[in-house]
């Protein structure tokens, strides 16, 4: 664990969506912290709240959602209490977001170079267009794309290249934190690895904190320092990635681990977790996971478990680990 002060701290963050059919909690009481050159993996199925969590860190929760509790502190400043304009200045400079779908995240009627010029000139108005384009070319080659491509339109590039451009845009202004939301889901396996390596290279070079949001546990297993496993908006397990691998404690984490194919095993039975994620508008009583859990007992169906500390940095939201429970 880094002994420096954390770069970003999230405390009891709660995000609710106020829909026609009711109020639902997409993010429920999430807390974590991240330091320089560290990667946090956020893993969960779709509907677990991981994307909402990512967006809430930069104050971009989509309508009709809103942050109802908690705070996000970046280098000492409370992000969610900032003035609109200051928050806007934060985005793109200190905190950058890489989106899941590179096809729809770039403006189809703008050239690649224009994206960079616009970004740079918004935050650094004194930079001229030519200077911005020079920097753009350098950034493109940093991510492994030919600099001439700044004159192309997004639809003229492949998915992998578009994603690299998103990353280039994200690191253009030397951010402190980069949030990558399913950065490789839309890409094929080989390109996936390259993109993830790219993110790590920049992380080390710039000393950024990297938050990797994904549904694929295998991606974050080796590349992150710590992992948060999310389910139905709550953190169900929070631990260093090595411990998630060697000693997964929450039944859900165990299930996730079992469903990762291991190339070294000759014969392997892949087990899927039975059932499907709950409807956030009608959550089960008690622990959100209990209907699908093979370890569930009476208490699980009545109370919502809090996070129990099971190691120096290991937290689990499961009654199995309540030290005071009667056997």
């Amino acid at each position: 664990m880094s002994t420096e002060l954390p770069l970003i701290t999230v405390d009891a963050l709660t995000v609710e969506y106020w829909t026609r059919r009711g109020k639902l909690r997409a993010v429920d009481n999430v807390s974590f912290s991240l330091g320089k050159a560290e990667t946090l993996g956020v893993v969960g199925e779709s509907g677990s709240g991981k994307s909402t969590l990512g967006l809430s860190l930069i104050g971009l929760v989509p309508f009709p959602g809103r942050v109802t509790k908690g705070q996000v502190v970046l280098e000492g400043t409370e992000v969610l209490k900032m003035q609109k304009n200051d928050l806007r200045n934060l985005r793109g400079t200190k905190v950058c977001y890489v989106f899941q779908d590179p096809m729809t995240s770039l403006n189809p009627v703008k050239k690649i170079g224009a994206h960079f010029v616009e970004l740079i000139q918004t935050h650094q108005p004194k930079v001229t267009k030519e200077e911005a384009l020079e920097r753009a070319k350098k950034l493109l080659s940093d991510v492994g794309i030919q600099p001439e491509r700044i004159n192309d339109y997004p639809h003229q590039l492949s998915g992998g290249m578009r994603q690299r451009i998103m990353i280039a845009l994200a690191i253009a202004l030397s951010p402190r934190v980069v949030i990558a939301d399913e950065p490789t889901t839309a890409l094929d396996v080989i390109v996936q690895a390259k993109i993830l390596d790219l993110l790590n290279t920049f992380r080390d070079a710039y000393g950024m904190a990297l938050i990797l949001i994904t549904h694929d546990l295998s991606i974050v297993m080796e590349r992150s320092n710590r992992i948060i496993v999310m389910y139905a908006g709550q953190i169900v397990e929070y631990a260093p990635s090595k411990e998630i691998y060697s000693n997964p404690q929450h039944p859900y984490s165990k299930g996730l681990l079992k469903s990762i194919p291991n190339i070294e095993l000759a014969e392997q039975k892949l087990e899927a977790i039975p059932g499907s994620p709950p409807d956030l508008l009608s959550l089960p009583i008690g622990c959100h996971f209990n209907p699908r859990c093979s370890y569930a007992f009476e208490r699980c169906r009545k109370e919502v478990p809090p996070l129990f500390k099971t190691g120096s940095e290991h937290f689990v939201r499961c009654f199995l680990y309540d030290k005071e429970r009667k056997a």
């Binding site: 793109g92 995240s105 403006n107 009627v109 998103m166």
Partner: protein, 344 residues
């Protein structure tokens, strides 16, 4: 398909459409109950007078010959002769045309500007009171008969407040703008606003605007409802699209995101809608010109109707039809050109 193929196909499609239009007008004017000449005289004239007019207008020839002459004439720009004084309909239409053009451009501009602006505001304040007020405004303006709105505005600003003239196109006591004249070279567009500027006369420019304001405001307001709704829907979807969220995540300014990103992409449907609205614009122009005594094609049409000048009416209808076809063709082509996704 490539742009070139599209252009060719679209232009080719326009030709049969115009052809069908011309033929239909011809048929309607002659084959259906009532001989146009007798209707003109309201069946009260002597057979000799009827025969004389028919001869003058070439309406005594067999139908096939008339049809051929009609089409041939159209190619030459000959739209027949007026029943009133046998003067060429084409030149009458030609002189009335600029007034309608000026009104149309001004009204459409107002409609789009108001529609876009209110549509954007509406989508940003989604489902809040402001949104509802704007939506109601859009519905109500569409439901108001354009001539009624015109008369109300005339009452308030003309008769009541005396700020603006109640009718007409220009101050009858002054010479209308004549455009640019350098020596023997003369150029005018027929649009008083532009011509007065060309002639360097600011006073006349202001006067022409005063007369133009109420009619174009009336027509513009009635048309803007559609644009408000369209922009609102498009903006709402676009504002929630990934690339707008990505733009916000890059910290771009609100105005850049709203107008530069979202609106730019929502603009294309507005363009198509503009073409579709053109027909409504012409219909509305007829009523507006009548209300404000604006000397354009619309008022010409009504005039000719009152005079039962059927050849002239036929000419106007044909011109309207061709006008609409060309505009819709132009809009389709422009749309194809502007969207780079279609191009390659």
């Amino acid at each position: 398909m490539t742009l070139r193929t599209y252009i060719i196909a679209r232009v080719l499609l326009t030709i049969p459409m115009i052809f069908i239009l011309l033929t239909t007008v011809f048929i309607v004017m002659r084959v259906l109950p009532g001989d146009p000449v007798q209707l003109h005289f309201e069946k009260m004239a002597s057979p000799a007078a009827v025969a004389a007019m028919k001869a003058q207008l070439g309406l005594d020839k067999p139908l096939w010959v008339q049809y051929f002459n009609y089409l041939a004439g159209l190619f030459r720009g000959d739209l027949g002769k007026s029943m009133q004084d046998y003067s060429p309909v084409a030149s009458q239409i030609f002189s009335a045309f600029p007034a309608t053009l000026e009104l149309a451009i001004c009204s459409m501009t107002i409609a789009i500007l108001v529609g876009l602006f209110l549509g954007v505001e509406s989508s940003k304040a989604y489902n809040k009171p402001k949104d509802h007020v704007i939506r109601v405004f859009g519905i109500v303006t569409y439901t108001i008969p354009v001539f009624f709105l015109g008369m109300i505005l005339q009452l308030i600003f003309g008769v009541g407040l005396h700020w603006l003239p109640v009718g007409g196109r220009f101050d009858p006591t002054i010479e209308p703008p004549s455009g640019l004249t350098i020596g023997s070279f003369h150029f005018s567009t027929g649009l008083y606003t532009i011509d007065s500027l060309l002639g360097g006369n600011v006073y006349k420019f202001v006067v022409s605007l005063k007369y133009l304001l109420l009619p174009s405001l009336t027509l513009g307001l009635v048309l803007c409802g559609v644009f408000i709704r369209l922009t609102r829907t498009n903006m709402f979807e676009t504002l929630r699209s990934d690339f707008v969220t990505a733009a916000k995540a890059r910290g771009l300014k609100e105005t850049t995101v709203t107008y530069g990103y979202a609106l730019r992409n929502a603009f294309l449907p507005v363009l198509t809608m503009m073409g579709l609205q053109f027909a409504l614009l012409l219909g509305g122009a007829v009523l507006t010109e009548t209300t404000f005594s604006w000397p354009g094609l619309g008022r010409y049409l009504i005039d000719r109707i009152n005079f039962r000048d059927y050849t002239a009416i036929q000419g106007v209808v044909v011109v309207f039809g061709i006008f609409v076809s060309i505009v819709s063709l132009a809009v389709d082509l422009l749309y194809a050109y502007l969207d780079p996704r279609i191009r390659l």
